[in-house]
């Protein structure tokens, strides 16, 4: 497709389970971002990749959160031992490259931890 694709769109996990969220960026986009958005809040930065290199992971809230982009295209955000406070929408965005300004966002993966 032409846009950023995220899967699954909805995920319900029991507390303590591991989850994996997938992001397919727009083809040819060098930069990829993950954001976390709680209800009624703006997106909060989690991590940033340029090709396969993770250049900024300062927003990851704990060592339970891990992201990878091994071939510089598809990215996976993994959350281990999920907690209720992890419930949020996880947004992926891509752009042509650094300093290009416009980010293209996917529709997000809504995670609910019971």
């Amino acid at each position: 497709g032409a846009g950023v694709s995220q899967s699954p769109r909805y995920k319900v996990a029991k507390r303590g389970q591991d989850v994996a969220l997938r992001c397919d960026p727009i083809s040819g986009h060098v930069s990829l971002f993950w954001y976390q958005q709680a209800l009624g809040q703006g997106p909060e930065f989690l991590t940033y990749f340029q090709n396969e290199a993770q250049l900024d992971k300062s927003g990851l809230p704990s060592d339970r959160f891990f992201a990878e982009r091994p071939e510089g295209s598809v990215s996976t955000l993994k959350i281990q031992r999920t907690q209720q406070e992890d419930s949020a929408v996880y947004l992926c965005a891509s752009s042509l490259g650094p300093d290009t300004g416009e980010l293209f966002f996917g529709e997000g993966s809504r995670l609910t931890v019971l």
Binding site: F33, P43, L55, G59, L91, F104
Partner: protein
């Protein structure tokens, strides 16, 4: 710490009633200021980028302006389809490529 504050949190307008949304920022050095629109259940959609004080950009009924401390998103003669949450974000000098977002302004335009 870099901060972006948007006001008001929510705004209700009648169709055709013009108004402005505010985004004030406190950052170590501004590289760019961005406006996005977000519809329920969707990801944010890019509207504008502004880089320097005095800069203005327009798109249909929307006009964004930038000063050294804040940005305004002016909405002229809004229509119900302009109802959405409008998000402001900044990138900073010396930082990575990350956008720092405000909490957004939820705009409702009644017919």
């Amino acid at each position: 710490e870099d901060q972006v504050t948007q006001s008001p949190e929510a705004l209700r307008l009648q169709e055709g009633e013009s108004s402005s949304l505010n985004c004030s920022y406190t950052v170590s050095g501004l590289r760019g200021l961005f406006w996005y629109r977000q519809d329920p259940g969707k990801g944010p959609e890019f509207l504008f980028t502004l880089y320097s004080a005095g800069e203005e950009k327009e798109k249909e009924r929307l006009k964004a302006t930038l000063t050294k401390k804040e940005s305004f998103l002016h909405i002229t003669a809004p229509k119900p389809e302009d109802s959405a949450t409008y998000l402001c974000a900044v990138t900073t000098q010396g930082g990575s490529e990350k956008l720092v977002f405000g909490k957004g302004t939820k705009l409702t335009v009644n017919p």
